[in-house]
Amino acid sequence: MKTRPLQFQVVTRVVAFIILAFSVFLFFAGHNNPGGGFIGGLMTAAALVLLYLTFDVKTIKKVIPFDYAKMIAAGLTLAIVTGMGGMVLGQPFLSQYDRYITFPFFGEFHATTALPFDLGIYLVVVGFTLLVILTIAEDGS
């Protein structure tokens, strides 16, 4: 007879959402509260790892068909290009710009180049964690 971790599978579906939401929150909270691209990215990765733990790798690959190597490259590119932004204006590499933009309805939004930079980091971290874990897992024995 085969048994089945039914309880685990069902709860994970709910919990994964909480964790993912939390990770997005952590990412955005970064500049003013604990968190940021790295922490947010790892949290996202943790949620994904939980999904992989619960279901098998193949299933998740269907659901989340990311190429993590490219995700890393994209993240790095984003971070570098953000840093290069200032160079066009004759500023040193990694010079930051920030501006308060008022959106209708949402209110004031603090737009800063730190955000895309952090997003780049976020992508790299997610890509890193999953690429490493999945590569090892797929190698098997």
Binding site: L26, V49, L50, L53, V57, T59
Partner: protein, 93 residues
């Protein structure tokens, strides 16, 4: 007054963690250790929550939630590992 209560509670939680650490070290089976570990994680949540009062900051609320999440993932991962060494099923066999 609250200070004293907090000191006592921290002491109790520390004691609790200590006991669990004992179980984690004794075993005898791996499962016992995971149980102990899981419980340490749960106690840690309380511990840090109280530190929020001590340091008068809400900044650790993230830590609290995070530990809850990670304790869960950690326990599950180790448990799965114990079963067959395959933490992630490939799903192609």
């Amino acid at each position: 007054m609250l200070d004293i209560v907090i000191a006592i509670v921290l002491g109790l939680l520390s004691l609790s963690i200590l006991i669990c650490t004992g179980r984690a070290l004794i075993g005898p089976t791996m499962s016992d250790r995971i149980v102990a570990l899981d419980t340490i994680g749960i106690n840690l949540i309380g511990f840090i929550a109280i530190l929020m009062i001590v340091q008068e900051t809400a900044a650790y609320s993230d830590v609290v939630l995070l530990i809850a999440i990670l304790a869960f993932i950690g326990s599950v991962a180790i448990a799965k590992f114990l079963e067959g060494g395959v933490v992630l099923d490939r799903g192609d066999s």
